[in-house]
């Protein structure tokens, strides 16, 4: 395992769109191990995406299990992830290994359904919400050459508490 170099702004390669993974082989799994070692080497990151280390393939790692009181599915390696459904939106503060010394507020979907493959190529499906859903959306943006700084909003756009909807769309 090796800790890889992280690309940081204004490196133009971060703007590249990554390609789907087609070969689920040992080389992919070796890379995933390096990517995880890189995530753990930095400052408390809950996720990392392959293009952040200069590999332009659709691979992300997310693990929010270290956060207190956060619903989660543990350590996740998601290959070719696709969001198939999303609902709700909420603002939260984000930072990024590729954007040192800056945090900002970003609006993300509250709940998502996700389809992906694991490093062996098996199909995965998840329903997730809150912080974990935010982490997945943040990392998936990297696969399309987007950074959270492209989505930062002013708190003024969100001064009011959001209405909370129960299932079925009735205001609580």
């Amino acid at each position: 395992m090796a800790v890889l170099d992280i690309l940081t702004l204004p490196d133009e390669r971060l703007r590249q769109v990554s390609a789907p993974v087609t070969r689920f082989d040992a080389a992919l799994r070796d890379f995933v191990a390096d990517l995880e070692a890189t995530r753990r080497a930095g400052p408390a990151a809950v996720g990392i995406a392959a293009p952040q280390v200069g590999r332009f393939e659709r691979i992300i790692i997310v693990d929010v299990s270290g956060k207190k009181r956060v619903a989660n599915h543990g350590y996740l390696v998601l290959v070719n992830p696709e969001i198939t459904h999303w609902e709700g939106f909420e603002m939260g503060r984000e930072g990024c290994l590729s954007v040192p010394d800056f945090t900002g507020n970003v609006i993300r979907a509250t709940r998502i359904r996700l389809a992906a493959r694991d490093p062996q190529g098996a199909e995965l499906q998840f329903e997730m919400e809150g912080f974990e859903a935010r982490a997945v959306q943040h990392e998936m943006d990297h696969l399309d050459g987007l950074l959270f700084v492209d989505r930062v909003v002013s708190r003024r756009t969100d001064l009011f508490q959001r209405k909370v909807y129960q299932k079925g769309g009735e205001p609580r």
Partner: protein
């Protein structure tokens, strides 16, 4: 630290920053926002000039735009961000004393305000005060809620929640 205030109109930021750029100044962190009918700028500027020299650099823009200028030499620098870990939202029928009471209780609990935005909404007959604070506290959210618990009865809704910054 440069402070500029004047009646809002298009072009204030452009004219001020062009003058600074031509004089060889670099800009750092800044807050620029329209408050009421005024446009306000607070901006970190680094440059070769003395405060008096900077005043001269900005004099044409200040005069043309009718701005008020204030310059404070400060020792601050970039890359000194504190990341907030607590958010406080307050809403209530507008009246004097909301900010003083809420921030007083928070200060007593050791809460450090990093950002505060407030606004008055609603219609003019029934104004509503809305405040959003982000700050840093070494105490738990529960302890802060306890600290402001007595204020809910004063007709305010105070929501204190953790800010969990996602690094990814």
């Amino acid at each position: 630290m440069l402070t500029l205030v004047g009646e809002d109109r298009p072009g204030i930021v452009a004219k001020v920053t062009q003058a600074l750029y031509r004089a060889g100044c670099s800009l750092g962190e800044a807050s620029m926002i329209r408050l009421g009918g005024s446009f306000t700028i607070m901006m970190m500027v680094r440059g070769p000039q003395t405060p008096e020299g900077l005043t001269q650099v900005l004099a044409p823009a200040v005069e043309e735009l009718g701005l008020r200028l204030h310059i404070d030499p400060v020792a601050g620098g970039l890359h000194r961000h504190l990341v907030p870990n607590v958010q406080v939202r307050v809403t209530g029928a507008d009246r004097a004393g909301i900010v003083a009471q809420v921030t007083g209780a928070l200060a007593d609990a050791g809460f450090n305000i990093l950002e505060l935005e407030s606004d008055v909404a609603g219609d003019p007959q029934r104004p509503v005060y809305i405040m959003s604070i982000q700050g840093y506290s070494g105490q738990t959210v529960e302890a802060l809620q306890q600290a402001v618990a007595g204020l809910g009865a004063e007709g305010m809704r105070i929501d204190i929640s953790p800010v969990e910054t996602l690094i990814g």
